[in-house]
């Protein structure tokens, strides 16, 4: 659900989001053209598995859970992302499709950035594109490290002789 | 310093027995110098010596009548002060509850140890740090230790696997004994130099026929001890050794020794300072009575470091490393002294002949540590 907002207010919101810390004023101006303020109620989907990845979200408040449907197991929630974090990078990687669904588990406010708009601007201004990539790489690295830890299943201590 | 005639060694034994000591000393059994109860001088290994080397131990007849003419046998005095098996408590079931009876006081034997080498005196002092004078005291050890009467015997010959000089633990017995003997033999002479090291040693000496030693006698003792010091078979450079081992935690030498080590745990059993143990809880068939026993354990066993997630040290490589680093590095942090006294038993009794001095040297000579400029 999009909300109308003054451009100046939106710029201020963007400046305060950790993902964009250190971004130059010029690049901020480049970005703002693709940005809009959005709100999701608990239970609403931000992204759906399989659909076109046409948006990139900077989460401001609330919590978003990444879900995936596994036949036989149903819907599993594998990670949450929250204030100060981002949702999605498939918008930058062809064929631009979401691999997971993202659902708000608490009322969420975010800034939505149009992916096609962002991709065009990255192509037009490589330095802007590099700034986006630099930040996304950090996000991916953190996410990868966290996922690896989750894989270790480190709390699992099977009883001696147990099947698990 | 005094003189005790050889023929009066018997009087020493009897004086100890009169004071209700159970005299433990060297005797030959199963082709080795073992420690056992000595009832008379006949039990002592007169005229025998030991030939030791890596994975080699043999008793050989001497061409003289020396009574203490050997180095060290496989086992040390720890088998008495810290027995291989000890019942810690008995418990009886009583309905839903149970009643635990610990070790009764005053039930421990009074030992007199006859023939303690200098390295062994140091080993006893090291085990004292663990069981007797540390944060917690083992009551059984403390009781035995307080009562134990120690008669040291100075080494006048060294063994091929000995390196007491490197570890500063011999050959001369400096302290920690009640009486100390030095056997003077040769050129038609055979007697003991004897000195006391404590009030109760002094008191026992007073009961023995003895006369003051002359300068010539004392000189003979010095010469013999000096000879022993120069004939120790091995050496270990202890300078900076703990730091060197810590800096070489992943040195390839550990892989090399792991190819040879069989994790048989012989070294930990014969080592006079190794103190690891485990506990076993047992019940009888009815379950009405239960016991807990303590027995010697070894860091070489596969389950030694088992926790809920698995074993921490999973291979011979890391277990050998633990043993050696504990002995030559961690002991220093824990107790202020090396855990090794240079007795050479681990070298002699290792079936693969692994030599702790050679392993240390290999790492020291090819250290991976970058020197700070």
């Amino acid at each position: 659900m999009e909300m109308t907002m003054q451009k100046e207010d939106l710029t201020e919101i963007l400046r305060q989001h950790p993902f964009l810390f250190g971004l130059s004023e010029d690049h901020m101006k480049t970005l703002i053209g693709c940005a809009s303020n959005v709100h999701f109620s608990e239970g609403e989907h931000l992204i759906r598995e399989g659909e076109l990845a046409n948006r990139f979200f900077l989460i401001r408040t609330g919590r978003v859970a990444l879900e995936i449907d596994v036949s036989g197991k149903g819907r599993l929630r594998i990670q949450t992302t929250g204030p100060g974090e981002v949702l999605g990078w498939s918008w930058l990687i062809s064929p631009y499709r979401w691999h997971f669904s993202g659902v708000a588990v608490a009322d969420a406010r975010a800034v939505s950035l149009d992916a096609e708009c962002l991709r065009k601007k990255c192509d037009a201004d490589p330095t802007f594109g590099f700034e986006m990539l630099k930040r996304l790489t950090v996000v991916m690295e953190n996410r990868l490290e966290a996922t690896r830890l989750q894989l270790l299943d480190m709390y699992d201590l099977p009883a001696e002789g147990a099947a698990r | 310093m005094h003189i005790l005639e050889v023929q009066h060694l018997d009087v020493l034994l009897q004086a100890l027995q009169r004071r209700n000591y159970s005299v433990i000393g060297p005797t030959i059994r199963d082709g080795a110098m073992v420690l056992d109860e000595i009832r008379s001088v006949e039990n002592l290994p007169r005229g025998w010596t030991d030939e030791q080397g890596p994975a080699h131990y043999e008793l050989v007849k001497r061409d003289d009548d020396a009574i203490f003419g050997y180095v060290v046998g496989p086992f040390a005095w720890k088998q008495f002060l810290y027995p291989p098996r000890l019942r810690l408590f008995a418990a009886k079931r009583d309905g839903k509850t149970f009643d635990v009876q610990g070790l009764a006081e005053g039930n421990t034997p009074r030992y007199a140890f006859l023939g303690v080498r200098s390295c062994e005196l140091h080993a006893i002092a090291l085990q004292d740090k663990v069981f007797h004078t540390g944060e917690y005291a083992d009551r059984h050890y403390s009781a035995l230790r307080r009562d134990a009467f120690i008669i040291a015997v100075n080494c006048v010959e060294a063994g091929e696997t000995c390196f007491c000089v490197s570890m500063k633990t011999g050959p001369r017995a400096e302290s920690g004994f009640d009486l100390a003997l030095t056997e003077i033999i040769g050129e038609g002479l055979h007697y003991f130099l004897i000195e006391s090291g404590s009030p109760r040693g002094e008191s026992l000496l007073a009961d023995l026929p003895h006369r003051p030693a002359e300068q010539a006698d004392i000189k003979r003792g010095e010469v013999a001890l000096a000879a022993a010091a120069t004939t120790v078979g091995r050496s270990l450079n202890t300078e900076g050794l703990p730091q060197c081992l810590n800096d070489n935690f992943e040195h390839p030498q550990w892989d090399d020794v792991a190819k040879r080590c069989m994790s048989c745990a012989n070294c930990t059993m014969v080592c006079p300072t190794c103190f690891c143990s485990t506990v076993e809880d047992l019940t009888d068939l009815t379950g009405d009575s239960a016991e807990r026993w303590r027995r010697w354990d070894s860091c070489f066993t596969s389950d030694f470091t088992k926790i809920a997630g698995g074993n921490i040290r999973m291979s011979t490589r890391t277990r050998y490393r633990q043993w050696m680093m504990h002995k030559l590095a961690h002991w220093v942090d824990q107790f202020g002294a090396f855990g090794c006294v240079g007795c050479g038993r681990c070298i002699t009794w290792c079936p693969a002949g692994i030599d702790i001095t050679a392993e240390a040297r290999a790492i020291q000579e090819t250290t991976l540590a970058v020197k700070a400029s």
């Binding site: 594998i78 | 354990d297 926790i307 921490i312 680093m325």
Partner: protein, 287 residues
């Protein structure tokens, strides 16, 4: 009864290996493999006192012992809680015990959380799985004197929502005692509306005043390693971080040698350590 108890306590000092029978007041399952035993002290050991972070050796008659952290409030002297993970022979036997059954205890052993160092500062507790058990006495102690401390932050991770311990208390601490409580799980289902991810991911949602914070960390070793890295990344000085370590324990008094981690005996030098002491040892594989 009092005289016998006094005698028992005196004997305890003389023989650190002597075991005291105590009766189970309550046996409660916290998750499908973790349970808490409440042991009666009032009759058997009225003088028993412990500090947060310490542990007892629990004895099952005829079977053996296991080292378990004490997880109750140190100020409550009438009984003792032990939260136990059922994983081996002795813990499985303990899992079958009921109210009225008798187990043996000896202790307390080991070093404790230096709660005094946190006075006037913010406290950050980071824990996962059963690691919360030895930290619960610390939290009780802090909450008893809440005004003496700044912010109290609890970051807690579990395998799944059903594996979380002390859920009622977690809520209570958050709602009534001014504890910033963030809970996460490694895997959630659609009914779980909380965080999903490793416990270190929770650091994104709190802002630490690193110049004025003391951190207490307990959990699987790998979790502690990543937590330490995260705290370091945020600028917390190592001497403001305390961990609780675990190794195989048999005697609890430094005799048997099993619990050694390099030069330190976890039973008597630990289990609680300042990070500078333990850091070089944590980096060594199969130490």
């Amino acid at each position: 009864m009092t005289k016998e108890a006094y005698g028992a306590a005196a004997q305890q000092a003389a023989d650190p290996m002597l075991i005291h029978p105590v009766t189970i007041r309550r046996a409660l399952w916290e998750t499908d493999d973790t349970f808490t035993l409440t042991l009666d002290l009032a009759n058997a050991l009225p003088d028993f006192r412990f500090l947060p972070g310490q542990f007892n050796m629990l004895y099952v008659y005829g079977l053996g012992e296991v080292a378990i952290s004490i997880s109750s409030d140190p100020a409550r002297t009438s009984s003792l809680d032990h939260t136990i993970h059922r994983v081996g022979l002795v813990t499985t036997s303990l899992a079958h015990k009921k109210r009225g059954d008798v187990v043996g205890i000896r202790g307390p052993y080991g070093s404790s959380w230096p709660v005094e160092l946190g006075k006037g500062k913010d406290i950050c507790v980071v824990t996962g799985g059963i690691g919360l058990a030895p930290l619960r006495p610390l939290l009780y102690t802090i909450l008893r004197d809440r005004d003496a401390y700044g912010r109290v932050i609890l970051l807690y991770g579990g395998r799944s929502p059903l594996d979380l311990l002390y859920r009622v208390e977690l809520e209570k601490w958050g709602n009534e005692h001014d504890v910033e409580t963030l809970v996460t799980v490694d895997r959630g289902d659609t009914s779980w509306k909380g965080h999903i991810g490793v416990v270190t991911s929770l650091f994104s949602y709190i802002k630490l005043d690193v110049r004025n914070t003391v951190a207490f960390v307990c959990g699987p070793e790998i979790m502690m390693k990543f937590t330490i890295d995260e705290l370091e990344r945020r600028g917390l000085a190592p001497d403001q971080v305390w961990l609780s370590m675990e190794r195989n324990m048999k005697c609890a008094v430094g005799f048997c040698g099993h619990c050694q981690l390099g030069p330190t005996f976890i039973c008597k030098d630990g289990p609680v350590y300042p990070l500078p002491r333990i850091r070089p040892l944590l980096d060594r594989k199969e130490l």
